[in-house]
């Protein structure tokens, strides 16, 4: 029994550590970036969205202005919304502003990094390397975790599947 409990404690500790590691992710100056992820792409698809959470712990605004993905020709920063039943998407010409103290979530149906000219499809479970470029903080290397096609985001562990 004692051993069981100590095993349980160890397991719980490992879980805690794992969560902490996952939440830490990437730091670039005063910016904290967590869980970059993308969705598995349909065959022949030339685009995909990149999602994550960006927190600005500093005293001045910064802007996400670009990035890269090894499997994609180029990257744009987009905003998407469905307004009056119409899907509207636009590139953010000045980039995505992250105000001091703000936490911005890039997610399906909203802000996203748009991977254009995909050279290979993204499959669930893949880890795909890329970068993010900020106007002031500069460039950071990130790894996108590819989740299911219906993943909605939110939470850790990447099991955002629909059903």
């Amino acid at each position: 029994m004692k051993r069981f409990i100590s095993n349980l404690t160890a397991a719980a500790l490992i879980c805690l550590v794992a969560t902490a590691v996952e939440a830490a992710d990437y730091t670039l100056g005063t910016l904290k970036i967590s869980t970059p992820w993308s969705r598995a792409t349909p065959a022949a698809a030339k685009v995909a969205g990149g999602f994550m959470v960006i927190e600005n712990t500093g005293n001045e605004s910064d802007f996400l202005i670009g990035g890269s993905l090894v499997r994609s020709g180029r990257v744009e920063i987009h905003e998407m919304a469905v307004v009056n039943d119409i899907m509207k998407m636009r590139e953010l010409p000045e980039g995505l502003e992250i105000k001091p103290g703000a936490t911005i979530t890039l997610k399906p149906g909203g802000y996203h990094v748009m991977f254009m000219e995909l050279k290979e499809p993204l499959a669930e479970g893949d880890k795909v390397e890329g970068t993010l470029i900020f106007k002031k903080a500069g460039t950071v290397k990130v790894s996108y975790e590819v989740r299911s096609r219906g993943a909605k985001g939110g939470g850790h562990g990447g099991h955002g599947g629909k059903h």
Binding site: R74, D85, M114
Partner: protein, 203 residues
């Protein structure tokens, strides 16, 4: 005297009401489309299916169909909607074959029938991709009252478009609409209604 003025008032009021009613009837008769407002959505078109065959509205007669307008370089709404369609087809089981599912590209410049076939096959092979020339695309878009517009980006363009899916009955008339993000239960109930209706009519 008082009674007379009341009577006159009543008479005038009656006349005014009759005139309004008559006017409304006239306007309705003149502008109300034959078959009601449901017939405002849908109509004749000629497109190319993803297998290269020409497909017209007449080929669709007799079976209900769900039709969606999008493009393959759409990162979110289109693949999500197609995934939902594939899930619904799975849930409908044998009933899924009692209707058709169509995906019309509003980006004929970059999408091709082959590309549509590959793209849609990763959702459900029974979803039919429709491709048309610029003129053919304009025609079907107008028929379904769909909105789309090109939005330039630094190096290329993207497309804003209607995210609603139209469900047409076996006579080709608008029966239901499925909104983006609508709950699956509600969407399935609408499809089952339309399938049941066409069954009752021997469709």
């Amino acid at each position: 005297m008082k009674l007379r003025s009341i009577l006159a008032g009543v008479a005038i009021a009656t006349l005014v009401i009759a005139a309004i009613a008559g006017g409304t009837l006239l306007v309705t008769r003149t502008f109300m489309p034959k078959g009601g407002f449901a017939s405002l959505v849908g109509g004749p078109f000629v497109m190319t299916a993803h297998d290269g065959r020409r497909l017209t509205d007449k080929d669709l007669a007799g079976k209900p169909f769900a039709i969606f307008f999008g493009f393959t370089q759409c990162p979110d709404v289109c693949p999500t909607t197609m995934l939902e369609v594939a899930n619904m087809m799975e849930r409908l089981g044998a009933d899924a074959d009692r209707m058709r599912f169509l995906f019309v590209t509003v980006d004929p410049e970059r999408d091709t029938p082959d590309l549509l076939r590959d793209y849609l096959s990763s959702f459900d092979k029974r979803i039919v991709g429709l491709y048309g020339s610029k003129e053919e695309t304009e025609r079907i878009v107008k028929a379904y009252r769909v909105f789309y517009e090109r939005v330039p980006t630094k190096e290329s363009y993207t497309i804003n478009h209607t995210a609603t899916m139209f469900v047409m009955d076996h006579r080709g008339r608008l029966a239901k609409t499925l909104a983006f993000g609508e709950d699956e239960g509600s969407r399935l109930a609408k499809l089952r209604d339309v399938i049941a209706l066409s069954r009752q009519s021997g469709g």
